[in-house]
Structures are given as structure tokens and as C-alpha cells.
Symmetry: C2
Subunit: 478 residues, 2 copies
Amino acid sequence: MADKKKMVEAITAMEEDFTKWYTDVVKKAELADYSGVRGCMIVRPYGTALWENIRNDLDARFKALGHENIMMPLFIPESLLQREKDHVEGFAPEVAWVTHGGEEKLQERLCVRPTSETVFCEHYADIIHSYRDLPKLYNQWCSVVRWEKTTRPFLRTMEFYWQEGHTMHETAEEAWAETEQMLNVYADFCEQSLAIPVVKGRKTDKEKFAGAEATYTIEAMMHDGKALQSGTSHYFGDGFAKAFDIQFTGRDNKLQYPHQTSWGMSTRIIGAIIMTHGDDNGLVLPPRVAPTQVVIVPIAMHKEGVLDKATELYERLKSTVRVKLDASDNSPGWKFAEYEMKGVPLRLEIGPKDIENNQCVVVRRDTREKTVVSLDELETVLPALLDAVHDGLYQKALARRESMTYDAHNFEEIKDIADNKPGLIRAMWCGDLECEMRLKDEVGITSRCMPFEQEELDEVCVCCGKKAKKMVYWGKAY
Amino acid sequence: MADKKKMVEAITAMEEDFTKWYTDVVKKAELADYSGVRGCMIVRPYGTALWENIRNDLDARFKALGHENIMMPLFIPESLLQREKDHVEGFAPEVAWVTHGGEEKLQERLCVRPTSETVFCEHYADIIHSYRDLPKLYNQWCSVVRWEKTTRPFLRTMEFYWQEGHTMHETAEEAWAETEQMLNVYADFCEQSLAIPVVKGRKTDKEKFAGAEATYTIEAMMHDGKALQSGTSHYFGDGFAKAFDIQFTGRDNKLQYPHQTSWGMSTRIIGAIIMTHGDDNGLVLPPRVAPTQVVIVPIAMHKEGVLDKATELYERLKSTVRVKLDASDNSPGWKFAEYEMKGVPLRLEIGPKDIENNQCVVVRRDTREKTVVSLDELETVLPALLDAVHDGLYQKALARRESMTYDAHNFEEIKDIADNKPGLIRAMWCGDLECEMRLKDEVGITSRCMPFEQEELDEVCVCCGKKAKKMVYWGKAY
């Protein structure tokens, strides 16, 4: 095998083949790779560092609201999974079954958790006895497994990483408030940390989580106009509590069932980052979660003083931004392309001329805009530029979503838009499953959500012409 | 069910039944609970917070040395596990097998990872081509599964949490240096962060990791004199590289095999913390990883100004130490017992008299020593007291280990000590498996390690009288 010096290769253009562009970015930016197990990905160091930043940010938001982390078993006995009817129907067809431990055949099969409502409920039955034990605000970070037919890195994998919050409350009101609060945490996180605008709303009954009374969702629009469900928060009522016999003595000294929520965000969100901000040069990372925020590229590195100065800047800036110095013997041009591919928000170039003038050149990844910055002002200018990149990414994504969202007033119109214009469609709905199914089968779109911010576009359903109940976002989705 | 107000119940005394004492502490301090799956524990929020502090501390040490985190698949195909002979023999008897995905029977069984050498090697074969690609310094935080017959929380569970580092190096020397470096990281972490003194050494061939050329270990002594292997670091040479066909072009332009290490520390270390520092009042946590370092207990809370002052202190101290305020309506006595059970290093009592005198009382968990502290000096006194607790715990554990370590010079002596004195035994060994087996079968002790700090206690083996090669620590172990 020849000594292959790594080169930055071109990727497929978005316009040409969006799916291939996506896979190219995942591979060439070294976010993830395929493993020997179908549908299971290797999240490489760069992808893992990104996920760790996402996790730490979300985790701090959860903890600030009083949530505690817990670590639950990976396995769920078959009988436990079966305890709640809708839940088992939703998940049993797509779980991995452990049947043997060592040489020994198990008396009862264990599934690898596809989600953990059942094990949380079993534990809650043990530890919740009085209203004094409530609320329980638990969360866990783990991987879960769902036996998917077709998979794509981050978007749909057999094993994926996520957090799952599971909470128990004294009253239904409290549980509803928690469901809404956690959806807002996800929405704020997407907008403030990932620069991804989202629509908040409620899923239709057809699209809600198996076993939930209501599912709230945030929906983001990708570059190709498709929607991506980016986080969900479920209200369970007391259905699971009844199935698992979780009861507590209330303030009135009577036995009652607690009210439950669960909520999750997964490594899918990395897919959303890629498809919201990326371009034909590769990844574009939102600064607040980027593993490297600023990469220093020395110019004419062999010239005296350049590497010293670059190293001095690196040491100085370490406490202000997440900075990396590339002092490898690759050419500056190679490095430019490499860190564009990896989506590093800012590039700082420093060469002999710059040093003479006590300055450097800072280039934005998103707009390629260059700024000459005095070396004395880096501690204020770099954070400001990172904020500017964040705002720019957010505004660009929002403008795209707005320009690719259409209103439809009748069946012909919705079919015409769905066939010809990628994007989201707003239209009125009567609330019947029949119309939802017809739009799926004949138009090829599904209900993304009933947005919290409702408008009455028409008085009647886009599909059947009967009285409309809700405005719905419809679209194609990942 | 009556409204059960939680009470702090007494635990079994150590002297009476050490095993039961251990289980009581795990349960009553709310570190972990049993789950519905045999041998799988629920790590409760207090235990999870402790593990998170351990993880963050270790993770920072790894990253400071250039290691990167990665997330590898949970499943290993059977054929991949079989690629390295010694490795599969060591692990195949104790893995969980997935045979079905949904309704479908798998063509090839997948095991739930018991450790990940094989999947790392498969990935390394894909990404290592040139000496420029080396070293690879990867680590992952995850859970692994081993089908154990008998289990105990933290000490031996079917599913346990750990980190596993897997590195590849250009030369054998570099890999040996990494093996030793990572053992030192573990030893430093145990001593500096957990206040647990350890013996560093090398495992005998019988006790080394399946597939390794050498296993380094740190061994700690528990309260009952038994040893606990607290972290291991393995040198693999190029055995796995050959089995997995990992080759790179060297500086000499010739194809060669890289040299490999792996190293791990697990939730077992929580068992070590419990059994090193705990006492008859419960857990005693080393301050640097304790989820709560200082608990504020208001005295005569109903009196005017007490709760306000306690809250003010809490807000003030939050940025200096990990502090908790217990303003519940339980009695101060109940709270004292509760936080002693949970091993919180310092208790800060504040009542009306204290407020009058601008002071408070701080009580150490380890010695119960009380100090009256001016409220103006808390920012300096509390960190100093936490350091004093750390040092005290370390010195106490070291003194115990020294007083319970014995030298044996012949077979009779070693049998007598093993039968009558709990602790570690230092004795010379000829290096033959036969003697090691005899000590196991007839004396009931195993070799813990050949310490790096060797002494020649005698010229001959304690067992057979032939020329001795190594001084070995022998003992009973968890």
C-alpha cells in the first residue's frame, strides 16, 4: 500500500444529488463511518466531540430546571415491555432480542431498550409512595436500538444516542406544564445553540408516540425543503402509571396515580445541523457547539517568527475560544479546504506581513467574509464574530424556511405544491384520520404538526371540505 | 399504603457482616438499586452524579494527554469476536447473544460488547495506512455486558459502565510507554481524587487480560483486607494488528504492524470508594468527587432570619464548593444522620446563636471534628477543610493497608497468615504457574500483582523453594 497522504477531495454538489452530498459530508468531515454491523455507525472523534458539546449544553439546561441523571439497564424483559398495550405494539416489531447468555438459553427473552418508559415505570413503582416523593425529574444519556430496515448516518440508525427524560408529577397540570417546558427547552436550544429555527406544535393522533396521550414536537426544515422532527416531548397522563401500578398517597390521604411525561433529543440533531447549514464546500457548524471555533493557519510557516507567533496566539486564545493550531506541513490551501470541509466557523490566518503590522486575517466559514483584525483586539473580536456567524446562520435558515413555506387552500393546490415545490405546506384540516391518510397516499405528504401558533387560513378542510379544526404543517420528512 | 415518611434506618455493622454492610450502604445511601433484570443495576441519581464526577475528572486527564473520545457500536458480529483466538476464548462464554431483530432471525448472531478491542481493530484497519496516521489515541465511555453468575452492585454486575481506551502506536516502545502512562493516570486519579492508595504492578500470565501480552494493574485494599483491582492497562504488541490485518507504511517505506494498548476503569471503582472509606454510619465520600461537598443544615429553622441566612450562605458558596441546602421540614437530627449516610464530607450548621456571632459550625464527616468558623472566612476555610478530609482519608487508608500487609517466607507462614489475618501478603515467587495454582487451591489466595517496586524478601519461592524471580502481592480479592 502506498503512503497515501490525505487529500481533501471534492464532494458531490447539493443540487446534483442531495442524498449523496449528505453522505459525502458525513464521511469527509469525519463525523461518522460505517461499522461491520448493518445500520450501526461509528461516531468518529470529530462527531463525538460535537455530540459532547450538544450533550453538555442540553444537560446544563435540564439540571438548571431540577432534573437529575440516572443510569437504567440496557435490557428490558419481554414481559415488562408488554405491560402497556399501545407501547408494546409500537415497539415490539423493531427491537433486538437477546436469547442467550453465554452458552445458556434464557428463560425469558430480553430486548435491547428501544426506549425506557417501562423500566422507569418499574423503578417509579418502587420509589414513589407519597406526594412528598413527587415530582421525580429523571433523565438518562444512553444509546437505544431499533431494528430499522433502511438506515442513514445520524438520520436513522439501528443504534443511536440520545437523552430520554422521564418525569412523574402529582397533578395532570404539572405534567402538562413539564411537557411544554421541555419542548421549549429543545426549541431554545435549537435556536440559541444550533442556529436552527423550529416550528413548535402538537402531533396528530396518527403521528404521536406509542402509548402517549399527546406528543409535542419541534420541526425544522432542511436545505432540500424536507422536514426533520428534531425533538419530542410526550404527555402520558396516568396510562403507564395504571399499567405499572404506580400509586401514591396524596395530600388528601387518598391513593392516586401520578401523571407522567417523557422527552428526547437524539444524534438525529447532528443530521439536522448538517442539512440546515452545510454547503457545497462541506459542513458549516454553528459556533456554540463547534468542537473547534477558530482554527489558526500559519502562512509561510518556514519564515522566521511565524510559527512562534501562531503558537503564542494559540496559547493566548485558548481560554477565550475553542481554538486549534494546524502546524502540520500541509499547504495553507490544503488546510483552508480541510477546515471548510469540517465547518470550523472562523479561520485565523497569520503570516510575516501580518506580524509586521500586528494584525491577522479572520475568515468566516459561512460567508467567506474576511476581516483584518489587530492582534490586540482578538479577545473581543473573535467572540463577536462567532456571534455574528451564529446570527447569520439562523437568519439564513429562517429566511429559507419562510420562502419555502406555502399555504394551500384546496386539494388541487396542495397536490400541485407538493409535486412541484419542495418545502412545508400550511393547510386547514378537519381532524379526521381519513383525510390525513388521503394526503399521505395521494399527495405523498404527512402531517408534521399542528403548530401552537394557529391561523385560520380557511373555514374548511383542504381535503374533504368539511369544517376545519386545525391548521397543520404538512410535508415530506426525514 | 400509608404515607411513609422516609426515615434514616440503621445499617448492619461492618464487624457483624461486611457483605451486608456493603449492600446496606449501597441501598440506603441511594447509590444503586436492583432492577427487574438479574445482575443489572439501576444507578440512582446520587450514584450517577458520583460517576459523572469520576468521569469528568478522568476524561480531562485523558484529553490533556491527547486522547479523543469516540462512540463505537454496541454489537459485535460473532465472526469478528472470533478473529483473535485468546480473546474469543476469554470472552465468548460470558457474552449476551442477540439472535433476532424484530420478527426476523439474524443470519449471524451479534454479541453485546463485553469489551471493544475487536471493533476498534476493525476500524483501525480502515483508517491507519501511514505512520502519519499514528498514534491513534481513542477512548470511549459506555456500558458493557458480561454474563456473570453471581453479582453485587458496582463490584460485579452483568452490565457495567466504564471507559475503554484503545491506542495504536508506530513502535513497541511508544506502546509500552502508553501502557505505563495510563496506569499512572489511574494511580494518580485514585490517590489525588479518590484518596485511595494503590499498589502498581504487573499481572502474572495467569491473571492477565485475554489476548494481551502484559497487563498492568493498580490494586487497592478494602476495609476487610481484601484486594480490589481498580484499573488495568494492557500492552498487546502486534497480536491483534496481525489478526485484523492492520498495516501501515513506515518511515522506511515498508509495511509494518502497529503496536497496541487498551486500558479501562469502571463503576467497580465506586465499590472501592465505599469499601475503602465507609464506616458504620454509612458512606464517606472523598471530597473531590463527592456530588455534594458541603450540606447546609439550618438549626431552629422556624426562628426569624435563620432560613434567610442559610439561603444567603448557599447562594454565596455555590461558586466555591458543591453545596446543598436542606430546608425541608425534617429535624436537624434526621438531617445529620441522612447526610452522614450519604457521606457528604462537610456539614455546615447555622442557627440563631451562630448568626448573632457571625459564625457557623462545620463538622467533618470522617472524624466528626467540629470547627467554629467565622462567616467571613468560609471561602478559604471550606476548601481547606475539604483538602484536610481528603488527606485524612488517604492517610487512614494507607495506614490500614500498611498495617494489614504481611511478609511470608515459607509455605506454612503464608498459609497461616492467609487463614488468620485479613490483608495482603508479600512473598517471593519462582514464576511457575504450578506454584500459583497451589497457592490458589491450598491457601485460597491469588496473585494480585508483581509490584513495580520490587524487594528481595528471600532468595527462594515461598511455595516450592526454587530460585525466586519476583516478589508478588498475594491476597483474597473482589
